[in-house]
């Protein structure tokens, strides 16, 4: 551990194509422009392409090299992002291997990421709710969920949050029967009645589990970004946190909302960050706001 404070943010959300990679690239770019040393780690196991957002054609070093033990230090595989104070851990190109890495590899990778020396570390996480995806999301103390104001996206978003939580809880409990209980909830064999928070439920079944659950919850801060939102959707900025708190028991903080923007596609085609090509567009303003929200919250949360 160095004395430096690292703020690790994982960008996830379950559903594909809702702008996780786009937002993590552009938010990382904004944070770096605010003068913070930023690391961007591409752990989108299904289709890593952060390098493309910055016009890096073929990264000469990727996380593969670390996983395959071709290099000992994770920092060796980081590459400079031209024009930004960002170091990029380019994603695994061999997809088959990526989705199957074992527990040992995972542990080594995660501890390497956690000990990186940056002010802010942004992790891009792929779609889906595979075990690897959930574990990756859980390594970050700050989880950012990206969602659309649509039932499908919200459903995935809620499920992702719950699954990530249960996955971590499962790792924390030791007793076999408690593990089973968590598994059963995870698999949907036990359904917690609506209106009862997960912690309350545990309290009524196994009160020891409730303590662990609270510890896990306290270990994380959850945030969300509403993407592709129209003005009518703004009320969701209030409704979603309320619903999640009321029905799940998690606190979740809105970071911002972005409107639909055709120019995003253009920026991706040009393979440059959106905030660079369209510095004056409203979307850029929003992205910068989200970035400054992230910085402000991180700074104010560090009260040691």
């Amino acid at each position: 551990m160095t004395g430096r404070k690292r703020h690790i943010f994982a960008f996830g959300g379950g559903k594909g194509g809702i702008g996780k990679s786009f937002l993590s690239a552009n938010i990382a770019a904004s944070i770096s422009q605010m003068g913070y040393r930023t690391g961007l780690i591409d752990l989108d196991l299904g289709g890593a392409n952060q390098h493309t957002f910055f016009g890096i054609d073929r990264p000469h070093k990727t996380i593969d090299d670390f996983i395959e033990h071709r290099t000992r230090n994770f920092s060796d595989i980081l590459i400079d992002v031209p024009g930004y104070d960002i170091m990029l851990g380019a994603g695994i190109q061999n997809d088959l291997k990526a989705t199957n890495f074992n527990a040992g590899q995972k542990a080594r990778l995660f501890s390497a990421i956690k000990s990186l020396d940056f002010d802010y570390i942004i992790i891009d996480i792929g779609a889906g709710m595979s075990i690897s995806t959930l574990d990756t999301f859980n390594i970050a103390p700050n989880g950012v969920l990206i969602t659309y104001p649509e039932p499908t996206a919200l459903e995935n978003c809620y499920k992702f949050l719950k699954s990530a939580f249960l996955r971590e809880l499962r790792g924390k409990v030791k007793e076999k029967e408690l593990k089973e209980l968590v598994d059963n909830i995870y698999d949907g064999k036990i359904i917690i009645p609506a209106g009862i928070k997960i912690v309350d439920y545990f309290n009524s079944v196994y009160s020891e589990l409730a303590g662990t659950a609270i510890a896990v919850m306290n270990h994380h801060n959850y945030y969300f970004i509403l993407n592709n939102a129209s003005e009518e959707d703004m009320e969701l900025l209030e409704h979603i946190p309320y619903a999640i708190r009321r029905f799940y028991g998690f606190g979740i903080i809105p970071l911002g909302a972005l409107a639909n923007d055709e120019k995003i596609r253009e920026s991706i085609r040009k393979m440059r960050p959106y905030i660079e090509i369209f510095p004056d567009s409203p979307t850029t303003q929003k992205i910068r706001e989200i970035a400054s929200n992230i910085v402000n919250i991180s700074e104010s949360l560090c009260y040691d």
Binding site: L154, E155, Y158, I196, E231, M234, L237, G249, G251, K286
Partner: protein
């Protein structure tokens, strides 16, 4: 399926020392969300569950909104309550904490502050999102109420009182064995449930007569404690009324008329600021806007001001400091700015 716990405070998601207003607010919030069929509830609250859930909410609301029923309920959950409050506190503590030390705040302060920060954030995002093109009826004086950060803080001080009251109510009445029993923290979940069902029974009885058929224990608790409790709540209601009246007297803004037609020009904003005893430096400190820019805004020195997006942001922040609706201030200021610049152009 497991029988849901009849923790009314939990059902409405409010702290134990929430006042009538909080109860009402929490209830309306849930009702609004469910009746509107908000997309945010999709997959969280399946439509099959909706009715059952709402009936529970209604039940909780009917008890907690009625001071008499609530007192009976409060007294009977006393033992469990202390334990639960601890849990709740630790659950809440991190959830919305923004860097203030946990010990320094009571639970209610804590949630109020956290809620306020959260609300500010939502407002800010919302206000910055779009300045609505016309069509909003200006309701400054009305909308000021829910925000009112200063008065909110003032209210926080008397708020913990009800909790103290409960303690003082139960402590002089340890006459019965029942009370001791209630104060014991149940060790297992089963016991917890038992005492909860007693609670429900106690409530179903007519609170005043209390001599309905049933076991003896809850009967004693009801009769022993109901009267003093009620008188206590009358006190708290009185204090509440006092609070309200002080709230009304508080704003200095009464001297300046802010109504539907007021135009938020630079000088007008300055006037409001000065009447509140806030200096440019104060605003600069809280908003991190430079004093120069604040002065330019107030003097309507448009040439020295930065790009429009910044002006919008500055205005919104200043409006917040002055306890005004930021969207309206921004719109009004900018339309005036446009007009004046056009005139100059001609």
């Amino acid at each position: 399926m497991i029988e849901p716990m009849k923790d009314y405070y939990r059902i409405l998601d409010i702290p134990l020392n929430a006042n009538q207003k909080d109860v009402e607010k929490a209830y309306q919030k849930i009702k609004n969300l469910v009746s509107k069929n908000s997309v945010s509830l999709y997959s969280i609250l399946p439509s099959v569950e909706k009715d059952r859930f709402m009936s529970e909410v209604e039940e909780a609301y009917n008890v907690l909104i009625n001071p008499e029923k609530r007192n009976i309920y409060d007294v009977s959950i006393k033992g469990i309550a202390a334990q639960k409050e601890n849990e709740r506190e630790s659950e809440f503590a991190k959830q919305l904490s923004f860097g203030f030390a946990k010990e320094a705040f009571t639970y209610l302060d804590y949630t109020r502050k956290a809620e306020k920060i959260h609300k500010d954030m939502v407002d800010r995002i919302r206000n910055d999102y779009l300045i609505r093109p016309g069509g909003i009826s200006i309701r400054i004086l009305e909308t000021q109420d829910p925000e009112r950060p200063d008065t909110e803080n003032v209210q926080v001080e008397p708020a913990p009182k009800p909790e103290e009251n409960h303690q003082s109510v139960t402590s002089p009445a340890p006459s019965g064995q029942t009370n001791n029993q209630n104060n014991e923290i149940p060790a297992t979940a089963e016991e917890e449930k038992q005492s909860e069902s007693e609670v429900v029974q106690a409530i179903r009885k007519n609170p005043q007569t209390g001599e309905q058929p049933g076991e003896e224990k809850p009967e004693i608790t009801v009769t022993a404690n109901s009267k003093p409790v009620i008188s206590e709540t009358q006190d708290t209601e009185q204090t509440k009324k006092e609070n309200l009246s002080s709230d009304i007297q508080m704003p200095d803004k009464e001297k300046i008329v802010i109504d539907e037609n007021s135009e938020f020009s630079g000088p007008f904003l300055r006037k409001i600021r000065e009447s509140m005893g806030i200096t440019v430096k104060d605003i600069a400190k809280t908003t991190k806007i430079s004093t120069a820019n604040i002065t330019y805004l107030e003097e309507e020195d448009y040439r020295n001001l930065p790009a429009l997006v910044y002006i919008k942001g500055y205005l919104a922040q200043i409006a917040k400091c002055l306890n005004l609706r930021s969207d309206i201030v921004v719109r009004s200021y900018l339309s005036r700015m446009n007009e004046r610049q056009e005139k100059k152009g001609k």
